[in-house]
Amino acid sequence: MSPLAILGVLSSAIFSGVSLLYITLGEVVDERSGIVNLGLEGVLLVSASSGFAVTVITGNPIMGVLSAMLIGGLMNMILGYLVIHRKANQLASGLALMFFGFGLSALIGKSFVGAKITSLPRIPFLGLSGLPKLYTSLFSFDILIYLSIPTAFLIWWLLFRTRWGLGVRAAGENADTTFASGRDPRLIRYQALFVGGLLAGLGAAHLSIAYTMNWTEYMTAGRGFIAIALVIFSRWHPLRAIVGALLFSGAVAFQLLLQSSGVHISPFLLDTLPYVLTLLVLIIWGGNRKHSAPASLGRVYQGSE
């Protein structure tokens, strides 16, 4: 197998891992504030389709990415209204949001199937511009790829080093105490959901605008659920989410490498790897409180009247 083929595999693994990192970070923020967003898959689909549509209409991928982010934030606001304002069941609300996303994205994307777009500009990886064209084309990444790991650090800083992040984590652990300390857990959760939606939208936009550069119905193919698994795998920590995304990329790369080198391991079985590893991590750390979920995850805040 030629080195070029191996590099190609690595390149495509990076592309598929980056969108997942953004999505996972978004879900980390949601869940840190105490809300499980099971509708993530639907949010991603609506963001990916509308971002793609805006890119086709305006011809400007940046506009596409920005509108996908905004739509992601707005989709999460629906969930916020149901679970924060109306105190609805989080799992049911999330699943309803998922079905909403299935339908809405199909409707939005319908007239854009097969459309051509100009993707985000690619910048060659540092110091590689001297290499032959074939190599640099494989290792030219768009700005979102370069920004992915810094974003993980930014989210870590936001959650663990700012007052806002303290509020988010407090709301996720105990909403009543948060209220007693003079913050409104409802407002905090809305904010966290909006930030999480922006990140999910960013990941979805990267998928449809930068990676596949097209729209097909149900193109996210379970990435929302992979992200939910990776959040658990990374134990609700933004920096460990990088490891989770790398793991997923690695599985993708491994699978492609095996295929091209003629080894027969079913791609279907390799696809189960992120879930199986998450399950093992859960079992290993299961009884340990230090590694457990935010204490109020999934609970309804009844208010302190």
Binding site: L38, I78, Y81, L82, R86, A88, N89, Q90, L91, A92, S93, L95, A96, L97, M98, F99, F100, F102, G103, L104, S105, A106, L107, K110, E217, Y218, G222, F225, I226, I228, A229, I232, S266, F268, L269, D271, T272, Y275, V276, T278, L279, L282, I283, G286, G287, A293, L297, G298, R299, V300
Partner: protein, 350 residues
């Protein structure tokens, strides 16, 4: 998580029947109105679209039979959530259990295809239940020993199951012509259908299970003990109930029922095992159970309503040139409206 359980069990049907009826009517109208706006934006005529949905589902005997067909797997997957919820377990894993049940049943159909129907079908039913139960056993066991929450594990298992089915179809079972599905089942492996429609024996099994569920919960010692565990598992344990065993067994039975949904789909509906055939039936079951407050009659009604909506989607696709998935918007808007519990009566929330 414990609060979710409470809201999952019977909040909806506690208010008087008439108020409940009016509430649901208004909620449905609200959802229809919102979907109508979306239809208008996309340039479709909402009135005509709704007429299409009604005439294609409830307007003819054939349409009605198609609604019943769509309803069958939902009865099972909703029941697969309702039963575990009685002991406080949240089974979000119907989707995965359905796939594994379908895979086990398919194995039976392919292996024993020379047997007569009266042997083959019961074997497939048992295999389907076994598959679903096995898939629910691990989450149930991990929950019972207090290690991992069943909500998380059942969700993970949902994502694994379709890939195992894909592995089996691709690697071993696919037909000579096609790599995404098995060969058509022999006639003996098909659940019999009635009156020349596609309504199959699965409907009878589903209804029987609903009645059995109602009977067990209301009139047997098991039902009483399950309610005790669901109400306060600590107290139940101190009173000598085998809580762990109950959690595991009930979870497995829930899984077995979801596995039956898979068996009913491959044997009764498709007659073949397809890649990714379910498209969210398990999740739909969770939502139906939630809408129904976990009550058998509610499950029957809600499955019917959801089946009308999804069946109507087929007609919209044909006549209104909408993607089939678009009907999910109407479904979701209805759910949103119920979830938001608007206060039509200005009084306390239901």
């Amino acid at each position: 998580m414990s609060q979710m359980v409470k809201s999952l069990s019977r909040t909806t049907f506690s208010s008087p029947w008439f108020n409940t009826f009016i509430r649901y009517l208004l909620v449905t109208l609200l959802a229809l109105f919102l979907f109508g706006i979306i239809l208008l934006i996309t340039g479709k005529d909402p009135i005509q679209s709704y007429k299409d949905i009604l005439t294609s589902t409830l307007g003819s005997a054939y349409g009605f039979s198609e609604v019943l067909v769509a309803m069958i797997p939902m009865l099972f997957t909703a029941l697969a959530v309702a039963l575990p919820s009685r002991v406080g377990l949240i089974n979000v894993g119907g989707e995965g259990q359905l796939y594994i049940g379908a895979a086990f049943a398919t194995w039976g159909a392919l292996t024993f295809q020379n047997q007569p129907a009266w042997i083959l079908l019961p074997v497939m039913v048992l295999l389907g239940m076994l598959g679903g139960a096995l898939w629910a056993f691990i989450p149930g066991y991990l929950k019972a020993i207090g290690l991992v929450n069943e909500t998380i594990t059942t969700l993970l298992f949902n994502s694994i199951a379709p890939k195992i089915v894909g592995f089996l179809i691709f690697g071993y079972w696919h037909s000579a012509m096609d790599t995404v599905k098995t060969a058509n089942f022999v006639p003996a492996a098909r659940l019999p259908a009635f009156f020349g429609t596609r309504v199959h024996l699965g409907l009878v099994i589903g209804l029987a299970l609903l009645i059995l569920f109602w009977f067990i919960m209301k009139y047997t010692r098991w039902g009483l003990e399950m309610r005790a565990i669901g109400g306060n598992s600590q107290a139940a344990r101190r009173n000598g109930l085998p809580v762990k065993r109950y959690l595991i067994v009930v979870m497995c039975i829930g899984g077995a029922i979801a596995g039956l949904a898979g068996m009913a789909q491959v044997s009764g509906f498709y007659g073949v095992l397809l890649l990714n055939f379910s498209m969210g039936l398990g999740f739909m079951g969770f939502l139906i159970c939630w809408l129904a407050g976990g009550e058998p009659i509610g499950i029957l009604l809600m499955s019917f309503v959801v089946a009308v909506i999804t069946t109507g989607g087929n007609m919209l696709q044909l006549t209104r040139d909408l993607p089939y998935a678009a009907i999910n918007i109407l479904l979701a808007l209805t759910l949103f409206a119920v979830l938001a519990r608007p206060n039509f009566f200005g009084g306390k929330k239901a």
